[in-house]
Symmetry: C3
Subunit: 682 residues, 3 copies
Amino acid sequence: MDEQRFAWNEMTVGVCYYPEHWDESLWANDLDRMLANGITVIRIAEFAWSIFERTEGEFSFDLFDRFLSLCAEKGMKVIFGTPTATPPAWLTQKYPEVLNATQSGVLMRHGLRRHYNYNSPVYRQKTCVIVEELAKHYATHPSIIGWQIDNEFNCEVNDFYSQADHDAFRVFLQKRYGTLDALNAAWGTVFWSQTYTEWDQIHVPRPTPNGSINPHLHLDYIRFVSESAISFCGLQADILRKYLRPGVFITTNGMFGHLDNHRMTDEQLDVYTYDSYPNFAFLLERAGKLDQLRDRWSSKSLTEVRSICPHFGIMEQQGGPGSWYNRMETPTPRPGQLRLWAMQSVAHGADYISFFRWRTCTFGTEIYWHGLLNYDNRDNRRLREVAGFAADLKKLQPLCGAQMDAGFAIVRDYDNVWDAEIDTLHRAIHNQSENAIFEASQLYHTPCDMLYLRANTTLQDLAPYKALFMPHASILTQDRVRLLEEYVQQGGTLVVGCRTGYKDECGRCVMDPMPGLLQPLTATDVADFTFTSPAEPVPCAAWDGETFEMPVYNDVLTPLDGAKVLARFTGSYYAGEAALTEHAYGKGRVLHLGGTFTVENTRRILAHLELLEPMRTLVEAPESIELVMRKKDGRRWLFALNYNSFPVSIQLKKPLVSLLTGKESTGNFELAPYGVDVWKVE
Amino acid sequence: MDEQRFAWNEMTVGVCYYPEHWDESLWANDLDRMLANGITVIRIAEFAWSIFERTEGEFSFDLFDRFLSLCAEKGMKVIFGTPTATPPAWLTQKYPEVLNATQSGVLMRHGLRRHYNYNSPVYRQKTCVIVEELAKHYATHPSIIGWQIDNEFNCEVNDFYSQADHDAFRVFLQKRYGTLDALNAAWGTVFWSQTYTEWDQIHVPRPTPNGSINPHLHLDYIRFVSESAISFCGLQADILRKYLRPGVFITTNGMFGHLDNHRMTDEQLDVYTYDSYPNFAFLLERAGKLDQLRDRWSSKSLTEVRSICPHFGIMEQQGGPGSWYNRMETPTPRPGQLRLWAMQSVAHGADYISFFRWRTCTFGTEIYWHGLLNYDNRDNRRLREVAGFAADLKKLQPLCGAQMDAGFAIVRDYDNVWDAEIDTLHRAIHNQSENAIFEASQLYHTPCDMLYLRANTTLQDLAPYKALFMPHASILTQDRVRLLEEYVQQGGTLVVGCRTGYKDECGRCVMDPMPGLLQPLTATDVADFTFTSPAEPVPCAAWDGETFEMPVYNDVLTPLDGAKVLARFTGSYYAGEAALTEHAYGKGRVLHLGGTFTVENTRRILAHLELLEPMRTLVEAPESIELVMRKKDGRRWLFALNYNSFPVSIQLKKPLVSLLTGKESTGNFELAPYGVDVWKVE
Amino acid sequence: MDEQRFAWNEMTVGVCYYPEHWDESLWANDLDRMLANGITVIRIAEFAWSIFERTEGEFSFDLFDRFLSLCAEKGMKVIFGTPTATPPAWLTQKYPEVLNATQSGVLMRHGLRRHYNYNSPVYRQKTCVIVEELAKHYATHPSIIGWQIDNEFNCEVNDFYSQADHDAFRVFLQKRYGTLDALNAAWGTVFWSQTYTEWDQIHVPRPTPNGSINPHLHLDYIRFVSESAISFCGLQADILRKYLRPGVFITTNGMFGHLDNHRMTDEQLDVYTYDSYPNFAFLLERAGKLDQLRDRWSSKSLTEVRSICPHFGIMEQQGGPGSWYNRMETPTPRPGQLRLWAMQSVAHGADYISFFRWRTCTFGTEIYWHGLLNYDNRDNRRLREVAGFAADLKKLQPLCGAQMDAGFAIVRDYDNVWDAEIDTLHRAIHNQSENAIFEASQLYHTPCDMLYLRANTTLQDLAPYKALFMPHASILTQDRVRLLEEYVQQGGTLVVGCRTGYKDECGRCVMDPMPGLLQPLTATDVADFTFTSPAEPVPCAAWDGETFEMPVYNDVLTPLDGAKVLARFTGSYYAGEAALTEHAYGKGRVLHLGGTFTVENTRRILAHLELLEPMRTLVEAPESIELVMRKKDGRRWLFALNYNSFPVSIQLKKPLVSLLTGKESTGNFELAPYGVDVWKVE
């Protein structure tokens, strides 16, 4: 993994602010109250294109000049956004080719955001102009400490079907495959007479009967979307770098699909920031369907963010109830929840926490996406809570730049993530297993990281983990298998599930027995396999007298030389066949589960690997409490987060001093409703 | 409220008839049988454009001339419809610009009805031609007593996206706002860089990512649709008025969304008629989901109709099972139901009841939208039932023009009705509360009216009501608040719910504490609020030891000087805070409920206001019986309607004489299944 | 019924193979292993257009020439497919007018299959060219025993909305109606001013408000789609017949909607083949919704296939788990199921069973539509099972050409099948009744046939059946009624249900009392009728003290002279009225059920007709076992099929010898899980 080029050197609190939304008479009071409440950084300008360039080619910086002067005067630091997520009306009116479209070709029009496409030559040119104008004008402003490129790449939609995308896709493919023969082979176009004989015959997905398309084209299409977004980001980064003062960082925010965020960060950004809205767990439409983890699922996203950039920021942290005027209704965060969720970000590695937004907008699509303040502009409990959080954060200063202490990692790569998105079998098992492994990790207090296998991943990146869970790498490559083999050779434990290794990088199936390239490591063979049948009960497997479910999909395992059977199926026509095997390999071992991961079988496997509950000598907590351990320079800190609306007791097994209260505690310790505490561990 | 320009002076029964659908040999027998069964008026011609103008500019009146001669001969009166709901094929083929379109621009084609748009210059011109031809030819026909313009404005679709609508929307906005600066301010276009710099950039809603748009544009768009329909109606009314004999009325039928029916009636019509199909309550798709009120919900629609036009007609009254060939399946009305539903219309103020239709059409989309007769043309139980109803109606002659006797009214205005349609928060609370208040009114026999606050509404319109329920007027204006204040000052009771007063006429949020302009009246402040959380049980409130639910949304009330707390929340983080307050103001008082209305809390409030069950000294009835009191010139009549398939007993607490049977009854009185009775009171 | 022009003279096993999908080095081994496993015929080439004509007008036969030489060498017989289901990319790119479109006009693009339309002059011309080239080149190849035209007509989509379809629809209608006046009358266009005054105004269905259209146009549109497919098939058949050797047959495969398969077979084909995938019953999306018959519903399809062509083939028989990469997930067939399902086809009349496909494709949309072999190409349990089936089939050789022994038939005609598709009332009762009758037939071991009333149907086709169930012939014609009358006259029993006879061939309602033209036969009258109400319990009927449900729809029957009431309603407002009548007519009788058929009332009626369980003197079996009797030249064979995952016992009431095992059994006989046996009777 590349080193990140910028990291905060102290824990910082920020907020998003839109000077253009408010009467100028409010500015000074707003800044004063922010500073008084511990907020020292604001993000501005990322949707203000029509302020800067009201009509084509006429630029005006007055409003933001005045505002930035005030910031300088007050001592407020600023992150400045480029406004390309929201092109002005004149632009899309005059150049409709800049718009994204539906698959059927209906243009997405002015009135929301992110209605442009990344590949339109006109849009790229207009983007260069506005970014260059802004960079030239503001690059040296002393208040500006960083720049945000665009806003939430691939949010709203992450599919692109404009004419510019059809054209750019061909260029992408020419670069990838060189010849049509190579492309035809890669996509298996001989099937159903799909062979292409001219480049112009190739398109991003278009309407077909039943909406299905060639799956290999589909996979390359997602790669293309990712490349397009990265390229568009790079276009802006290159301009900004020409003008920025040293030390001023470049970032972008959010984490959305169809985008290799790792590569974008490595290539274009100095640091990555995320937008964390755990309140989505309480969308009204989930009534009656709330699961056990609810807002703790945000910890899974934060775990993924950490894999992109270990010491990240939160550009938008939940600041109030969020919804649009016509969708995504959520309740108001309960007293304590804003602080809890901000602490969740900190526990998972955020050194910068910027709330969205200062005051709720009184017009437009997001009138219900509440900021800290309500329309009435009065101090309220949310602002008080954030002020308290800011005070807490000062006490956590030693943790700035600390690392997660995780015993195992969930392994991913973009090929499989995207294949799992388009392939219904892969999707079913991927979703089941990744969520179950993470849920087990949360409930049984066994922190994990996420690890992406990439071209620049090395044994150094893998070695720290005692075990790697790579649930369903349908697609395997020689390079990745070589790296995994080294990892196992040197003592690591690799755990894989069903449907491993039956595809190549194009998503074509290989003519080898499963698990394909991994067979030497697993010492298993798969000759029969099935979706679990809707006509049968969920199959189970038995392991040392304990029985657990094996839902969704089953590979019937045949152990080869050296493989030991740990568990056997107890149901369906393959009852008695191997369901879980273990194979000693080098100094390590490989476990092969002939199915998907569940909370129960993951817990059982973690216990078998002696990874379960690594903090149990220090603390004991119920399943509903998240425990996180952070470490830095030999020091360690324990976080306990209570996501419940009621107080919960945990057991501290040795005396620990809280960084937040300064108090030493031992034995029974009660976390308040939505409460958090952090202790120093020696 | 304006006075209506035409009212029936005797209770009349009609039917819809389509001479063009039948062999002419059937006409005379049809008319004879109608008259023999008490039907004295027919509506004709409203879908017959292609009969009158088979090809462009060639007019033929022969068929309807022959038919009208027969009517004159038989003594049948006629309401004549203009045929603009169904343009001929030649028209839409030659001028596709007259068609409505989907938001994506797909044109709605020939083959159904209402596929035209109101704003196409060509359609308006062709409409003028056909209406003028018809008016010229038929205006003086002695059988014709009234004209119906078009058919069911805004039925089928009430969204319009044709090119003509894009163009006309701009004209509408120029008139409304004058300048782009004013429009940009009104719509908050500074949000997400939506600022418009040329009028041509503005459109009726177009496709965007996720289908969301600017909510203020959305609100103005609905206003625009309403204006368009009214203008199109006016186009025809102006022509008709040039030709009509005095005493011949102009009306239109149905009541659909996106249309200010009040203004249309005041400005363009002499009287309003409604189409009442209570059988929709029994749509097959509702199997397993039938609620308590079922066909009694039609009484809510009739209550709204009465607010538009107190002495209205029913142009189409349920005459048989109704469905299209491909949707809306319903069972056949049970013996007694047609009469029950017709009496429901009468009870709520209809003086003219015209059944749809004489005989079921044997072809086309509506082969299952049964008329009184089946395809086989034999007399049947439905016709017998209608003949009986006609005989009954003669006995109710004294009630013609009588008024509903209602103790309270539900207050509406179009700004809030339309805002509730597009705003998901507003919609959720509006639907919950309006339905609950009406349901409480029905179940507890506390008749109510509906009252629209309009520019011409005066204290005289409000004063008759002891209480006004205005559940969630998110949008408040100075004018409406002034009127409400006068009403309370003079002794009225105003009851409001959560989210009152946080928006202005544009749908922008005001920077005042809720309930905004009403705060002086309510003497409350709202500093915290929330959708009720899917993670918590429904919050409750306690009032004098009684507990009731407060679902959907809660405002946490802070009573100000003079406000008395009636009820307090018992759950969530605001337990103990005020949930319902009362504030004496002038000679009246204002109640503020920090939530939505339910049947239970409405019942409790009505009891508190001493409005509950005003007829209880006269009659006692179970919840499943609707009781209505009508009054005129000091006389009063009591209706009891049994919507059940079984007989139900009510208690008459003094001797009353039935207008229908002439019998006097007292004490226990059994209403037959689907039975109705009407008694003279005093 | 016409005689079929080709029939297999021995039971044969085949497989589908795609030489173009595999490295040529695999071919010889593949063919050798097929032959070794009892597979003697392969189908090839039906998706290989781009192999034969890689660019426009340049033909290449090399690949298939080489492969066919190998077939000749190995002794493998071949069915050769024309490749018109999948036009090459160059074709649709250059001539987009050949594409099908959505109703809104969005073209269906390259990338799946069946994206062409039948009526494009260009596509018809290109089809003629490729078919003629292939016929010329391959017609005399000695390995080729038959030709398959296209692949699965009307699969994927069976609606067509391209410009060519708009144009061809008018020609179809001109031929059907001659004049616009006739068309306007037939379609009842006077309703809603739909009258057409120029042919150009007429279109295949286009978008309208609410998606509803003129139902008579809709019915003719489906007829038009069927004609288009048949015409396109005939285009190819005519070319092939010019070149084929005598004895080489022409077929096509599959059975899909909007297609008169009977007429297509009679006019264009020598024999009909079907694609049988019983595993669809276990689609994952059915989890929790599996019904009692599950994979036995395929027997209903096979019953329909038999009505088209008594001695048919299965061109694609389930060969493994089937799904696309993005939909239709199913579990792997359990051990025994492939054989069971193949035997199901044989039991119902298939003399040729060709599995789909040899080896699972490793790329493209169907990577999960498994063949016999997996990607890894190893022999496996599925191949072993098919080899066993092939060996079994040799033992069933005497059954080749045998007939089903069925006591009654379900009567259909295309007018009513298609009317039931577009008409929601007709659809509801049709689906309820046909499925219930078939389910009763299965559960109570009373085999039935399906019988289509067509122009060439004669009394000879009807006479063999003791009873005909024609549940809801809404549309009746004089010809069909005359035939049914003859059938009853000579001693047959006709059973009809509600809503019989109220429409004419155009789908217009007739002005006669129901059951219309059948009234003389039923001696009943229907004056009242209703969908069963969602507000009432399901109505029942009582027959000799036994009560059964009468769901969905009820006709209230009035018995006329000579009709005997068998059962009366016990609920709703028509309690006590006739629910089932019987009328002696000629030597036969007619039963009229005033409702829909259920498993229970069908069982009761079959018992009344003394048709229930005709094999009960020979065998007794639980409901979950399918029993089939086949007969030929005075010999009879009994099939018993166990669809369960567990063994099931049946009672053989006399000693019978199994054709499969040669063993004689009597009394208790255990069928293995998914087991099948076949015994010689007498």
